[in-house]
Amino acid sequence: MSKLLIEDKEVVIPGQILAEGMDYLPSNGAIREGDNIISTSMGVVSLSGRLIKIIPLTKRYVPQIGDVVVGFVKDLTYSSWFIDIGYSNDAVLSMKDATSDFIERGADLTQYFSHGDYMVAKIANVTKTKAVDITMREPGLKKLYGGKIIEVNPARVPRIIGKQGSMIKIIKDSTGCMITVGQNGIIWLKGPDLKNELIATEAIMRINECSYTQGLTEQTEAFLKERTGGKQHGVHQEA
């Protein structure tokens, strides 16, 4: 006789017994030990049929091909840039992936990207040895000018973006800020004035702290309405 000891969307801690008996199967973040299924991480339970999965509350960023990330130039060589994307290995941005311009032999690469410059880039390749290549030659990828940087845990990024970008769209529309959320948890934000930037930052940090609660979109909407007085800014261009 199998027994489920937790509910869907419940917050569990490592070592907690999630289910007894052989009718349930452990997925990510859970293991079977004897007859029991035990959680190995702190997170929110996601039940799908017989599968028990834990969506962790915090994690390190692990790059995957196709991720859009925000990073900064850590170092540069004669033919490439090293970009810090918050992973153990720095990503390599090669000359041909950086720009469509013709670069002369021996040209000064700092005219394109210099130390400390932030950019939106896409993960082009992750090799077996965890070397990461990124590219800038796609629409929407660009160097970032001005604005500020906020860092959140990468595990919270899906909640900050929301389903099909719904959450981030609410924040953009009600504060008029340009916001780019990298999958690595680095967020770039630039607004019309300090007040709106502060409201947007606060909204993002609220989602960051309450990422495991339900009905976050409604809460955020109410919060933004209260702070901005319900004023809607025009739809800004995707930053």
């Binding site: 900064f72 130390h115 400390g116 410059d117 932030y118 970032l144 001005g146 604005g147 500020k148 940087i149 770039w188 300090l194 007040k195 502060l198």
Partner: protein, 258 residues
């Protein structure tokens, strides 16, 4: 190092704004002190909050031998430990430059102001003295650790009660009603310079973007008693004058919470 944040902070400062909406010379709220948080394991203790920044300090006292050059003076040791709990930028392991500087600056504010009457800590000249250890643990670093540590050290020292001496040994379970012999109450205010702007109570982002900083310890007569300069940029004499004037003004606010 973070160019985009420095440009952002400088851009706001030129409009007279800061990234959390404060004025340039405004401390975060609330500033509060809780005394006596650990009466069992320490002689004196306190928690200090400045905004989100939180620092715990404890005072331990022991009997020891005096240093040879000061046979009739008690000793004072200040130690700051930065645990990884306080900030993601702190690593476990031996003390780094930052924690050593924090400890030295806090030590200097307490010592050079003459806050503790060290002569009264002498039990028998040349043989026995009280050794005062102040241990400071930042619990959350949301900026301005310099001022928070000095305030926590002051609060814990004010809170401390001498333990009882029985048969030449210290009985830590019983405390006398006597506090440490105090003469002054120094408080430090750190003024940082970014570009040409002077500001107090820096956030972590502002602290990382500073050009120069000056930590000024000020006693209750409003006299500077300790100064430490940091950062790469030089300070002119008029800069230092302005910073000390600003610090003397702001220290009154901090003194209210004692």
């Amino acid at each position: 190092m973070n160019k985009i944040m420095k440009d952002y902070i400088l851009g706001l400062l030129s409009k007279g704004e800061r990234m959390d909406g404060r004025k340039l010379d405004e401390f975060r709220k609330p500033i509060k002190i809780e005394y006596g948080i650990s009466t069992k394991s320490s002689e004196g203790s306190a928690i200090v909050h400045i905004g989100e920044t939180m620092v715990i300090a404890g005072v331990k006292m022991a009997i020891g031998k005096p240093y040879e050059d000061t046979p009739d003076e008690g000793s004072l040791t200040v130690n700051v430990e930065l645990s990884p709990m306080a900030s993601e930028s702190f690593e476990p392991g031996p003390p780094n430059d930052y924690s050593i500087e924090l400890a030295r600056v806090t030590d200097r504010v307490v010592r050079e102001s003459g806050m503790i009457d060290v002569n009264k800590l002498c039990i028998k000249e040349g043989e026995k003295i009280w050794m005062v250890n102040v241990d400071i643990y930042p619990m959350n670093d949301a900026g301005n650790l310099f001022d928070a540590c000095a305030l926590a050290a002051l609060a814990a020292i004010k809170d401390a009660k001498m333990p009882k001496i029985e048969n030449d040994k210290v009985n830590y379970h019983e405390k006398t009603s006597k506090g440490l012999p105090l003469k002054k109450t120094p408080i430090s205010v750190t003024v940082i310079k970014i570009g040409k702007h002077l500001l107090v109570d820096p956030l972590v982002e502002e602290f990382n973007a500073l050009d120069a900083r000056l930590t000024i310890g000020i006693d209750e007569a409003n006299n500077p008693c300790a100064i430490q300069k940091g950062g790469d940029a030089p300070l002119s004499a008029s800069d230092i004058d302005k910073m000390i004037t600003l610090a003397k003004e702001k220290v009154k606010e901090l003194r209210k919470v004692l």
